[in-house]
Structures are given as structure tokens and as C-alpha cells.
Amino acid sequence: MFARVAFAEAVKSLKVYFFSSRTLFWALALPLGNGLYLYFLYLPFAATTVDLQFGAAMPTKIDLVGFTIIGQLLYSFFTMMLLAGASFDAERWQGTLEVLLLSPANRLALLLGGALANAVNYMWMLIALVLSWVAFIHVGIFVTDLLALSVSLVLSYAAMIALGMCLETLEIYSRRGSIFTAWLQEPVTFLSGQIFPLQKMPTFLLPLSYLLPLTFGLMAVRLTLLGGASIYAVTMPLAALASMTIIFLVLAGLFVNYAERKAKANATLTQF
């Protein structure tokens, strides 16, 4: 039943949003635009590489274009997960949120379905973007351990999907859910090490950086895709991503129950 609800919700979201201006913007225009913006931020420094370091390991020189592009691609996936919550906002606008929550469908399955649909929506854009960048901009890809890269990608996506499910509950809880999720975008961009290497982050902000799955995802994917790192070199970020996936899934279950109960008790599902 759980899988069927998640599948049905994913299919519905895919049908509604696959060829929409929303998907084109969030999955194509935003990564391209932001990627260029970050690249231009580096232009005055006449730099071509960035030193990336995790823990006590020696810094690895990473191609600057690759650094900003990979950062942007993963960040865009994160925003797509934030956007998954907007499907509840859309249900509210259409006046169907109450009906949806009257159904006996498992709430977590609904959240998972929305998040998976957004992941699929983004995936085909992502593949096209990566291939075009490698072909036309000659991003310096350096992979020595395919397993490490695959695990890094899968765990990064899993952790972000789980976080996305947590954040989706905000849309049920409050009509200002969209604003709350929009609030996260710039702080996450700054704190995750998307713009500059994490080792250069002011020390007092690092604890906040370590709360974000994007931080560890960026570290693992950049090192394995651009720096030729093996799975042993990225064990720590991978373990953090796996732990976060479990924690965020549990939290999503708790949050969605609380948000729905609260919204029903206060009659704020549709109007407030």
C-alpha cells in the first residue's frame, strides 16, 4: 500500500510538472544561471583551480569550473527537494488539500512520492547538463573509483530527499511554508561550501554547515568526481550522509503527523 501511494503520487506529480515552466526554471535555468554567477564571482581572482580539503587530509586541487558546476548541480537538487513541498501549496491553492488529507493514504508515502517525482524531473536535466558541460566546457573529470562516486551520488540524493520530506511538512503546517523554505536557500548556499571550500568557512559557522546533508554531499561528490578520491578517502562524509538519511526520515514521519494534527485542530488546512 505504501509503495502504491508513493508511486501514484510520483506519477501524478510527474504528469503535472514534467513539462512545466516550473521544472524548466528550477532544473535548467537556475542551475545554469547560478553556476555562471558563482563562476563570475571567481573571475576577478584569475583563478583556475580550488584547493579542497576534508579533515586532516592533504588539500586536493579541483578544477574551478567543475567545482562551481558540481556545487550548483547538487544545490539545484536540494532546491528541487524544497520545491517538492510546493506540491502541498499547490493542493491548497487548488482547494484539494483537505480532500488529499482526508484520504487514508500514508502521509510519508505522499511526501516520498512528491520528492521522488522532483528527483526524476531533475535527473534528466542533470544528465543533459553534465554531458554538455563535459563536451563543451571541458570540465576536468577525474574518477578513479566508480563505486565511491556512485555511493556518493546515491547517498547524497537519499539524504536530500529525506530532508526534503521533512521540509515538505512545513507546507502543511503553515501557509508561509514557501517563505520558510525560500529562507533556507541562501544560508544553505553559503554554509554548505557550495561557493568556496569548506575549510575556508569561518570556524564559528562550521557546526551549522555540518547539519546540512548538502555539505557532505558536495564534499563526497567533488572529491570522487573531480579529485579522483577513493571510497576510503570519503568514508566520513558518506557515513554522515547515511546517518542523516535515517534521521531525516524518522523526523519526517514525526513532523508530518504533528503538522497535520495541528492544522486540523486549528482548521488551518485551507484558510487562516
Binding site: F25, L30, N34, L43, A46
Partner: protein, 275 residues
Amino acid sequence: MNHSLRVIASTAKVNLVMTWRFFSWTGFALRFFTPLMTLGAAWTLYNAVYEGQKLPTGFGVAGGSSGYLSFITVGNAFYVFVFAAAFVVGRVMFWERATGTIEATFMTPMSRLAYMSGIMVAAAINSLIDFTAVFTLGLAFGFQIAFFNAPMFLASLVLTAFALFGIGLITNAVTLTFRDRTTTANSLMILFMVFCGLVCPVGLMPPWAQWISKALPLTYGIELMRSSLLGTGTIDPMYDVAALLILGTIYFVIGAVTLAQIEKNLRKKALFSVF
């Protein structure tokens, strides 16, 4: 003419009252996140990543952190006007439709352009608050005014607002036609953010990006503003003024014609409220 001025004044007044009556701290704070993030990132890049060793080049001012960070601050402060044009003027009709007042608005005999101008005036007044706030934030990151040329400063504000108004009209027409909520406005914000020289002099960008920059009025507005505050003066200010005037007029004419055409079309097909 007198009637249009009254429409502008009353629309601006209503919008200002509405903005401050339903003031939201969350929405207000959100407007500063992009400038704050860029200022923080530029500061970290300059001071932590490159440790002040590799000085930025091509700014037309003396090197050093104050030159670079002042350059970034001015660009970001100016960017708040894009928000006013794209999200306020660009989504007027979307909100009229959402609140169920669009048909009543279009039934009135007022000039549509006067109505939209009133909204732009209110948005520009609100933007001045944001503009000042971003400069104040910039002080914490090392922003310094090298000198001040008041006429050039005012010209950059007024002419950019005029040029962005035309773009706001076009955005509004697109939003009205496609029932779009935020995509057009967001795309416009990205376009301006990337190509107008907010974080990097246009001259350092790849040639194809420079061509796009030349079509955007904000590029010239920012250059003029930087000339008035930082004395960068790499390009003749009169060139920027002329470019702003020409682009502003082109965008304004396209916006006005598109809006009139779309209104006519929506009336004919009865698509104002429902379709």
C-alpha cells in the same frame, strides 16, 4: 494628464499603505538574503580563500579589499530595484487575478500605464529602503565611498527605475497571459543577477556574456552608480546615460504595446478570471 497623475498618486498611496499595513518581517528579510550571501561570499573569497594576496584586477580603482568589496556592495544594492520591477510590477495582474479584482480593475476608465506607474513609484520608494539597508550592510564588509557625484547618482537611480519599469510591464504581460506565478520573475532575476556585472566587471566576462549584458539596462545603471560613488570612470558616464535612456524607451514601448494587446485579447476571449 491631470487624471493620470491622480491615478499614479492614488495607486502609489494605496500600495504603500497596503505594504506597510500588512508588513511581514519574513518577506522583508528574504529580500536581503541574496545581497547578504553575495557580500559574505565575496568577503570570504577575498580574505580567506585568496588571503588578500591575489588582488582583483580590472576594476579601474586602486586594489585592496575596500575597492573590491565596495564594487560588490554597489552592485548588490542596485539589484534591489530588479526585485521591485520583476516581483512587484511584474506580478500586479497575477495578484489582481488571485484576489478576484482583475475584472473590476480593467473596467475602470483609468490609464493602465498610469496605474502601473503608480505601482512602480510605490515599489521604488520601498526599494530605496532596501537600497539603503544593503549599503549599511556593506559597511560591515568594508564598503567605502571614494567620492560622491550627486547628479550622476540620482540619474542612475531614476533612469534605471524607468528602464526596469518597461521590463516590469513586459513581465506583467507574460504573467497575465500564462497564469505564471513566479517563474518569469525568477528567471528575470537570474538573468540580471548573472549578466549585469554585480560581482564581476562586464569586461572580464566571456564575449557572449558581454553581448547579453549590453542588452540589459541594469548593466549601465550599475556602472553609472559605481562611477558616482567609487569613481571607477572606466567608461564615459554619458554613454551609460544614453544607453539607459535608449534601452528604457525601447522596453517601455514594447511593454506598453504588449500590455494593451494582451488586455484586448483577454477581453475578447473572456479569459480575465477563468481559463
